[in-house]
C-alpha cells in the first residue's frame, strides 16, 4: 500500500509486514477459520517481528511507531489473515493503555511479557446489558482494603479464555461514564469464570467469550490513572482501535480486489475473459476508486490522532464507519465477480466477507459512529 510521501523506513516496515503475512498468516488462514484455531505460536512470532508492540511508547519498551505506520502495517497483515491481524490490533491497543496509564509497578509486571508476545491481552468493556451504551456498564469494583473487589460480567471479549492480562472497565463510583475506572486484572485470578467459546460467523482464529467476575480481588496498583478516568481511557483507546479495525477492513478488501483482478483475466465465459465485459471493468474501476478513498481517509484519520488534533475522535469515527462499510462492499463486489466460486470455501473471498462483517459492529457500531460524528458537527 504505497503513498506518494512514503518514507523508506515505512516502506521497509511494510515489506516486512507483507512477507510475514504471506509466509506466516496467509497459508494457514483458511484452516484457522475452519477449525477455530487461535494461533498463539504465530502471535509469538509476530511479537518477535515487532507487531505486538507497534505503538506502545518507546519509554515503556514498545516501538513507539505512529498510528499511521501502525495502520498501514495492520492493513498489510490483514491481507494474510483478517481475524488474526484484528486480534493483534486489540493486543496492541491494550499494551498501549498499560504503557501509558498503568502505575510503574503494574507496568513492569504486565507489559514486558505482553510486548514479547509471551502473554496476551484482552479489552473488556462490553456487557450483556451495556453494548452501545457502554457508559452504563454495571460491573462493580468495590473498594476494599489494599484494592478492589470485582463483580459482574463482560460479554464478547476477544481472546478471552486464552489471554493472560485483562483491562477491565468497572464501576467504582456513581452512575454514568464518570463512575467508571480501568483496572488491570490477571486472567487466571480466583473468582474468574469463562463462558463457552462463541460460535461465530467470522473472526474464527480468535476465541470470543463471556467473562464472569465473582469477588475477584484486584490490588490498588492495578488501577490505571485515577478512579473515574476509566471511561475516558477506554474511549481514547478506541479512537486508535477504530483506525486499526478500519485498517484490517482495508487490507482485506485489497486482498479481495487483487484476487478479483487476477480471476477476471483467467475466467472465460461466452468465449472471452470476463474482464472484457464492460460491467466487469466498471466494477473493478469502482473497487479501485473506493479503496483509494478509504486508504486516504485512513491515513488522514491516523494523522489526526498522531497530531493529537482536537477533531481526532470525529475523524476516527467517520473513517471507521466509512471504511468498514465500503470495504465490506468491495469484498462483496469481488465475491460477485467470482460467481459461484466466490461462495465456496475453496476460495478466500467468502471468508473475507464473513470476517469483515463484524467490523461494522464492534469497537462501536457504525450507527454509534454516526452519532459521534453528528454530535460533533452539530456542536459547532
Amino acid at each position: 500500500m504505497n503513498t506518494l510521501d512514503q518514507t523508506e523506513e515505512q516502506a521497509a516496515f511494510l515489506r516486512s509486514a507483507k512477507e510475514f503475512a504471506e509466509q506466516s498468516l496467509k497459508p494457514f488462514a483458511a484452516q484457522w477459520d475452519e477449525e477455530a484455531i487461535f494461533p498463539v505460536d504465530t502471535l509469538k512470532a509476530a511479537a518477535d517481528m515487532g507487531f505486538m508492540s507497534l505503538y506502545t511508547p518507546e519509554s515503556a519498551g514498545g516501538l513507539g511507531l505512529s498510528r499511521e505506520d501502525s495502520a498501514l502495517i495492520f492493513a498489510e497483515l490483514s491481507k494474510g489473515c483478517t481475524s488474526t491481524a484484528a486480534y493483534m490490533t486489540i493486543h496492541n491497543m491494550v499494551a498501549w493503555m498499560i504503557g501509558n496509564w498503568a502505575t510503574e509497578q503494574a507496568r513492569d509486571q504486565y507489559l514486558p511479557s505482553a510486548l514479547t508476545g509471551d502473554t496476551l491481552c484482552s479489552y473488556c468493556l462490553t456487557e450483556p446489558g451495556a453494548g452501545s451504551d457502554a457508559g452504563n456498564l454495571q460491573t462493580k469494583a468495590e473498594k476494599v482494603d489494599g484494592g478492589y473487589k470485582l463483580n459482574g460480567s463482560k460479554v464478547f471479549i476477544s481472546g478471552a479464555g486464552s489471554t493472560h492480562t485483562l483491562v477491565v472497565m468497572a464501576r467504582t463510583g456513581g452512575a454514568g461514564p464518570k463512575g467508571v475506572s480501568a483496572l488491570i486484572v490477571e486472567a487466571n485470578s480466583d473468582g474468574i469464570r469463562y463462558g463457552k467459546k462463541e460460535d461465530k460467523m467470522g473472526w474464527n482464529s480468535q476465541p470470543t467469550r463471556q467473562i464472569h467476575f465473582d469477588d475477584v480481588f484486584v490490588p490498588d496498583q492495578n488501577l490505571m490513572a485515577n478512579e473515574g478516568d476509566g471511561f475516558t481511557l477506554a474511549m481514547k483507546a478506541l479512537d486508535g482501535g477504530r483506525i486499526n479495525i478500519a485498517s484490517c477492513s482495508l487490507g482485506t478488501a485489497y486482498a479481495a480486489y487483487e484476487a478479483a483482478l487476477a480471476y477476471v483475466k483467467d475466467r472465460k465465459q461466452f468465449g472471452k475473459a470476463i474482464a472484457e465485459f464492460q460491467n466487469t471493468q466498471f466494477v473493478l474501476a469502482d473497487m479501485f476508486t473506493e479503496l483509494e478513498v478509504c486508504k486516504n481517509m485512513l491515513i488522514s484519520a491516523a494523522r489526526h490522532l498522531d497530531a493529537a488534533h482536537p477533531d481526532a475522535t470525529l475523524q476516527c469515527a467517520a473513517a471507521k464507519r466509512f471504511i468498514t462499510d465500503h470495504c465490506y462492499d468491495v469484498v462483496d463486489k469481488a465475491l460477485q465477480l467470482h460467481g459461484g466460486y466466490g461462495y465456496i470455501k475453496e476460495y478466500p473471498i467468502e471468508r473475507h466477507l464473513r470476517d469483515l462483517r463484524v467490523h461494522r459492529i464492534l469497537e462501536g457500531t457504525n450507527e454509534i459512529m454516526r452519532s459521534i460524528v453528528a454530535r460533533r458537527i452539530l456542536a459547532d
Binding site: 521497509a12 516486512s16 516501538l63
Partner: protein, 249 residues
Amino acid sequence: MKALVTCKRVLDPYIKARINADGSAVNLDNVKMAMNPFDEIAVEEALRLKEAGSVTEVVAVSIGGPKSEETLRQALAMGADRAILVESDQDIEPLAVAKVLKAVCDEEQPGLVLMGKQAIDGDSNQAGQMLAGMLNWAQGTFISEIKIDGETANVTREIDGGLEKLSLKLPAVVTADLRLNEPRYASLPNIMKAKKKPLDKKPLADMGIDTAKRIEIVGLSEPAERQAGVMVDSVAALVEKLKTEAKVI
C-alpha cells in the same frame, strides 16, 4: 574473518520494466526500486556464516546515488554490521564496478567477498569474475552452497548439467545463485536499529578510478509479446512446424 557483501539498488523485480520514450534506457522515474535479489541472497549467506562463527563482521557495500543508502539500510536491518556507500551519480559499467570494489577490498582486507551472481538490471554477470581477477584471488561463481573450513571455502557451483564442488583458498570472491538460501526479512526493531548503524560515504570521484564508459548502448527493445499457443493434431504436424515456422530443427 571479515566478509564484504555487495548490494546494488535495482528496479523492483516484481515490476514490469518500461523503456523510455526515446528508447535510450529503462525508465527509473517514480518506479519501485529494491535490493538486487541475488545480492539479498549474498547478504543472507554472509549473516549465516557469521551466525555459524565463520565470519566475525559483515560489511555491506554499494555503489550508487543517495538512494542506495536505503538499500544498504536494508542490509543493515537484516543484520550487517556496517556499510560503505561509494557515491556515484552515474550507473557505472561492470569493469568500473570491479575496480571500485578492488579499491574497497584493498582498504578493508576482507577474507571473503560475497556478491550476487549478477544484477537483474544489466544482467552482465561480470563484476565478480573481474574483481577476483584483479585481486588475484580464488573465485567461486553461481554457488548454491558454501562452507568455511579454516583457510578454505568449500563451495558447490551450479553449472550446466550438474553441480561442481570446489575448494577455494581464502581470501576468495564468491557469487550467489538463486538456490543458495532464502533471505530473511528484517524485524521492525532491527529496521529501527539499522538507522543507527555506521554507514561511511566516499565519493567515487575522490577515488582516482577511471570509470569512463567503454560500452555503447545501441538500442533497447521490450521482449516480444508471447503468442498464444496452438494445438497440433499429430507428431508429423509438430515436426513440420518446428522445421518451417520455429526453424529450430
